[in-house]
C-alpha cells in the first residue's frame, strides 16, 4: 500500500487560494481569522506562558532548597506561587489544549475551518490581552498573592484592599470567557461540520476528547465566572457575599471555585488522553483497542467529574454524610480512567512498536499518570485527606497527574504534530534527550514531596526550620527542578532550531491514519482542496478510506470569493448544506481591545472610562454582527 507521501502534490485551486487568502503585512496578520493561524497563536502564546510558569516554579524551588533561605522574601514567594499556579492553570494548560484543538480538529474531521472564525479570533485576542492584563500587575507592583484559588476572606476587601486581587479576578475571568467561546465553537464544529461519512463511530479519540471537554467547559467555567464576579463586587462596591459578619460565607467561594476547579482538571486531562489514544496507533501500526469503551469512558469521566468537588474541602468542616458521598465518587472515577490505561496497554501489546519521541511520551504518560491516579484515590479517602490536605503530599499528587496526564501528552503531541503545523520535523535525538530530562527531573522533583507531606510540611510556605528532617528531601526536589528546567530548555531549543530549518516533512511523515495527514504540511488555508469523505476510523490506512487526495471532488471550486464549508448532520455526518464563512476582519481585535479598556476602567474605579469602555464594547459588537454573519447558500 502506498503512503500518501508518494501521491502527487495536492491540487490547489487558484479560486480557493484567492478566496481563503490573507493579505500580507500587519493588517493581514491582525485581521486573520483562519483557525490554523489562530490555533497556532494560541499554542505559541500558551507555550510562552508555560515557560514563564516554569521559571516561577524554579524560583519557588530555589527558595526551598534549604531551610530559612533568603532568596525570596515572603511577599515575593507568595506572589511567585500564586502566579505559577494561575499561569499554568489558566494561561497555559487550557489555552494550549484549545489551541491544539482549534488547529487540529477541523483537519481531523475534514472541515475547512471552524464555524465562527471571527469568534475564534476574538478568543485569541482576549486571551492575549487577558494574560497581559494579569501580568501588568507586575508593572504596577500590585501582584496577586492569594494563591491560585484565591480564598476569601484573605482575598477580600478587608485583607487585600489594594488592586492585586482585582488583577487576578478580572484577568482570570477573561481567560474563562475565552475558554467558553472556544468550547462553544469546537462543539458546533464537531457536531455539524464533519466530513460526510464520519459517523460517530469514526470520530478520532482526540476529537471525542475535545468534544467532551468542551461541553464540560460550558458548565464548569461559569461557576468560577460567577464566584469571581461576586468577589469583585465584594471588593469594589461593598457587597457581602463572602463576609460572614453580614450573612455571607467564605465557604461559598470554595464551593463555586471547586465546582469549576474539579471539572477543570478533567477538562485538561480528557483531551490530553484523547491525544495519546490518537497518536498511539501510528506507533503500534494498529488501531486503538476497545474504541467504543474508550469513548464511553471519556464521557463517563466527564460526567462523574462534576460530582467530586467537595473532596477539595474535606477539612473545611462539612458534615460527615456529605463528605462520604464524595469519597465514593472520587474513587469511582478511577474506573473509567483505568479503562483508558488498559486500552492503551492492550493497544501496545497487539501492535508492532515504532520507537520514537512521541511513543516515549506516551509511555511516560502511563508511568507518571498512573502513580498520580493512585495517590488520587488515596486522598479521596476523607480520613487520610485530613492528614495530607494542604501539604506537600497533595502537591506531589496533583503534579504527578498534571505533568503525567496533561503535560507529557502535550509535549508528545507537539512533537508529533509539529510537522503538520510547520512542514518540518523536530530532531529525534534532541527530542529524546528532552524527554529523559523532563521525565527524570519531574520524578526527582515530586516524589520526595510525598514524604515531606507526611513529615508535616504544609503547602505555600516560603520557608521552613532546620532540624525537622525536611532538608534532604527539599534539596533533592529542587535539584529535580533544575533537571526538569534543563529538559524544557532542550525541548524549546529543538523547536526553535527546527521551526524553519528542520528536515522537510511531506504530507504524512509518520504514515499515520488520520485525515489531518491527507493534506500538505502545513495545510493550505482551506485545508483540503476537495472536501474528503470518510468510511473508516483510520481513513488513510484503508485502501480508499478518504477522498482521493488531490483529485477533483466536493467543493473544489469556488463561487465568487466565498469561503465555503460543508454542514453535516450530528449523528451520521450526512452532508446537508453548504455554509459561507466570513473573511478577514478587524472587528474581533477591536472588540477585545474595548473589553480591556472597560477592565482598566474597573481597576481604576473610573465611571466615565467605564461608560466609554462599555460603549466601545457594544459598538464593536454591533459592527461585528452587522458585517455579515454565517449565511446559507443562495
Amino acid at each position: 500500500m502506498t503512503t500518501t507521501d508518494d501521491a502527487p502534490p495536492a491540487v490547489r485551486s487558484a479560486g480557493l487560494d484567492r478566496a481563503w487568502a490573507t493579505p500580507p503585512g500587519i493588517m493581514g496578520w491582525l485581521s486573520n481569522v483562519n483557525h490554523k493561524a489562530i490555533g497556532l497563536r494560541f499554542i505559541v502564546t500558551a507555550f510562552v506562558f508555560m515557560l514563564i510558569g516554569g521559571a516561577q516554579a524554579a524560583l519557588i524551588r530555589t527558595q526551598l532548597i534549604g531551610p530559612e533561605q533568603g532568596f525570596l522574601g515572603p511577599d515575593a514567594y507568595n506572589e511567585a506561587f500564586t502566579l505559577h499556579g494561575t499561569t499554568m492553570m489558566f494561561l497555559f494548560a487550557v489555552p494550549m489544549l484549545e489551541g491544539l484543538a482549534m488547529y487540529l480538529v477541523p483537519l481531523m474531521i475534514g472541515s475547512r475551518d471552524l464555524p465562527f472564525p471571527r469568534l475564534n479570533a476574538f478568543g485569541y485576542w482576549l486571551f492575549l490581552f487577558g494574560g497581559l492584563f494579569l501580568y501588568s500587575s507586575l508593572v504596577t507592583g500590585s501582584v496577586p498573592d492569594g494563591g491560585w484559588f484565591n480564598y476569601p476572606p484573605l482575598s477580600g476587601p478587608q485583607f487585600r484592599p489594594d488592586t492585586s486581587i482585582d488583577f487576578w479576578l478580572l484577568g482570570v475571568t477573561m481567560t474563562e470567557i475565552v475558554g467558553i467561546i472556544g468550547a462553544l465553537e469546537l462543539v458546533v464544529c464537531i457536531a455539524r461540520h464533519r466530513a460526510p461519512g464520519m459517523s460517530l463511530n469514526r470520530i478520532p479519540v482526540f476529537v471525542w476528547g475535545v468534544l467532551v471537554s468542551s461541553v464540560m467547559i460550558l458548565f464548569a467555567f461559569p461557576p468560577l465566572v460567577t464566584g469571581s464576579l461576586l468577589l469583585e463586587l465584594d471588593r469594589k462596591i461593598g457587597t457581602h457575599f463572602y463576609n460572614s459578619v453580614a450573612g455571607g460565607d467564605p465557604i461559598l467561594w470554595q464551593h463555586l471555585f471547586w465546582i469549576f476547579g474539579h471539572p477543570e482538571v478533567y477538562i485538561m486531562l480528557i483531551p490530553a488522553v484523547g491525544m495519546v489514544a490518537t497518536m498511539v496507533p501510528t506507533f503500534t501500526r494498529r488501531g486503538i483497542v476497545g474504541y467504543p469503551l474508550v469513548v464511553v469512558s471519556l464521557v463517563a469521566i466527564g460526567f462523574i467529574s462534576f460530582g467530586l468537588w467537595v473532596h477539595h474541602m474535606f477539612a473545611a468542616g462539612l458534615p460527615a454524610l456529605a463528605t462520604a458521598f464524595f469519597t465514593a465518587a472520587s474513587m469511582a472515577i478511577a474506573i473509567p480512567s483505568g479503562v483508558q490505561i488498559f486500552s492503551l496497554i492492550a493497544t501496545l501489546w497487539r501492535g508492532k512498536l515504532v520507537w520514537s519521541t512521541p511513543l516515549l511520551y506516551i509511555v511516560g504518560f502511563v508511568l507518571v499518570f498512573v502513580l498520580g491516579g493512585i495517590t488520587g484515590v488515596m486522598v479521596a479517602s476523607v480520613a487520610f485527606d485530613w492528614q495530607v490536605h494542604d501539604t506537600f503530599f497533595v502537591v506531589a499528587h496533583f503534579h504527578y497527574v498534571l505533568l503525567g496526564g496533561v503535560v507529557l501528552p502535550i509535549l508528545g503531541g507537539l512533537h508529533y504534530w509539529f510537522p503538520k503545523l510547520t512542514g518540518r520535523m523536530l530532531d529525534e535525538r534532541l527530542g529524546k534527550i528532552a524527554f529523559w530530562l523532563i521525565f527524570g527531573g519531574m520524578n526527582l522533583t515530586f516524589f520526595p514531596q510525598h514524604i515531606l507531606g507526611f513529615l508535616g510540611m504544609a503547602r505555600r510556605v516560603y520557608t521552613y526550620q532546620s532540624g525537622l528532617g525536611w532538608d534532604f528531601y527539599n534539596f533533592v526536589s529542587t535539584l529535580g527542578t533544575y533537571v526538569t528546567v534543563a529538559g524544557f530548555l532542550v525541548y524549546t531549543a529543538n523547536i526553535a532550531v527546527n521551526w524553519s530549518r528542520g528536515r522537510p516533512a511531506g504530507d504524512n511523515p509518520w504514515d499515520a491514519p488520520g485525515l489531518e495527514w491527507a493534506t500538505s504540511s502545513p495545510a493550505p488555508p482551506y485545508n483540503f482542496a476537495a472536501m474528503p469523505t470518510v468510511s473508516s476510523l483510520y481513513p488513510l490506512w484503508e485502501p480508499e478510506g478518504a477522498a482521493p487526495h488531490g483529485q477533483p471532488g466536493l467543493l473544489d471550486d469556488v463561487e465568487g470569493e466565498r469561503r465555503e464549508i460543508v454542514g453535516t448532520t450530528i449523528l451520521d455526518a450526512e452532508a446537508i448544506e453548504i455554509l459561507e464563512l466570513p473573511g478577514n476582519t478587524l472587528w474581533p481585535l477591536i472588540a477585545a481591545l474595548a473589553i480591556i479598556l472597560f477592565l482598566f476602567a474597573v481597576m481604576i474605579d473610573s465611571i466615565v472610562l467605564g461608560v466609554v469602555g462599555l460603549g466601545a464594547v457594544v459598538g464593536s459588537l454591533a459592527g461585528w454582527l452587522w458585517t455579515g454573519s454565517e449565511q446559507r447558500h443562495e
Binding site: 458546533v188 461576586l230 457575599f241 460565607d249 461559598l252 469523505t533
Partner: protein, 206 residues
C-alpha cells in the same frame, strides 16, 4: 466504498428547504447554556447563604413585597407571545406582521424594564447592607442585564426587518433574537421564584 455527495444538489438545497437549524443556532443554544449555568450558580449562592444563616433576611431587613414584581413577571411572560407570533408571521412571509409583533414585544419589554427601575428605587435597602441585600440586588440586576440585551437584540432585528433582510425562506436572525427573548423570560421566571418564593422554603424565615 466512499460516500457519494452531490455538490450541485447541496447548492440547490441551501435555498427553500432548510432541513436543519443552521449551526449558529446550536452555537447560541450552547452560549445560553453557559449563561444559564451562571444563573444556576447565582441561585446556588442564594440558597446556600439563606440556609446557612439563622435569620433571613438578616438584621431586620424587610423582604420586598411580592405584588408589583408579580405583575411585572406577568407582563414579561406575556411578551413571549408577540415574539412567537413574529416568528410565525415571517415564516409565512408576512413582513408587516413581523414588524408589528416585534414592536409589540419591545413595548412590553420596555414596560417591564420601567417597572424594574421603579422597583430598584423603591427597594428600601442598598446592595451593601448584608448578604441578603447583596444577593437580591445582584440577582435582579442579572435579569435586568439579560432583558436589556434581549431588547437590544430585538431592536437590531427590527431594524433589519425594516431593511427587508428577512424572507419566508431565510429569517434566522428572527429565530435567534426570539431564542434570546425566551431566555430572558425563562430566567425572569426562575429568578422571581428564587427571590420571592425561595425564602418560604426556609423555616427560619420570618
Amino acid at each position: 466504498m466512499s460516500v457519494q455527495v452531490d455538490a450541485a444538489l447541496l447548492r440547490r438545497q441551501g435555498v427553500g428547504e432548510p432541513r436543519r437549524r443552521p449551526p449558529v443556532w446550536l452555537g447560541l443554544l450552547l452560549g445560553l447554556g453557559a449563561i444559564a449555568t451562571i444563573l444556576a450558580s447565582l441561585i446556588f449562592s442564594y440558597f446556600m447563604l439563606m440556609f446557612h444563616g439563622s435569620e433571613w433576611p438578616p438584621d431586620g431587613i424587610r423582604r420586598p413585597a411580592l405584588g408589583t414584581p408579580a405583575i411585572g413577571l406577568s407582563v414579561l411572560v406575556a411578551s413571549a407571545v408577540p415574539i412567537l407570533l413574529a416568528g410565525r408571521a415571517i415564516g409565512a412571509g408576512r413582513q408587516r406582521d413581523l414588524r408589528l409583533w416585534l414592536a409589540a414585544a419591545t413595548v412590553l419589554g420596555a414596560v417591564v424594564l420601567g417597572m424594574q427601575a421603579r422597583g430598584y428605587a423603591a427597594l428600601g435597602f442598598a446592595h451593601d447592607v448584608n448578604a441578603y441585600t447583596s444577593l437580591f440586588v445582584t440577582l435582579s440586576a442579572f435579569h435586568t442585564i439579560n432583558l436589556v440585551t434581549a431588547l437590544i437584540f430585538n431592536l437590531a432585528t427590527q431594524a433589519r426587518a425594516w431593511l427587508g433582510h428577512f424572507s419566508a425562506e431565510y429569517h434566522e436572525g428572527v429565530r435567534l433574537a426570539a431564542l434570546w427573548w425566551y431566555w430572558a423570560v425563562a430566567s425572569g421566571v426562575v429568578l422571581f421564584a428564587t427571590l420571592f418564593l425561595g425564602p418560604l422554603l426556609d423555616p427560619a424565615v420570618q
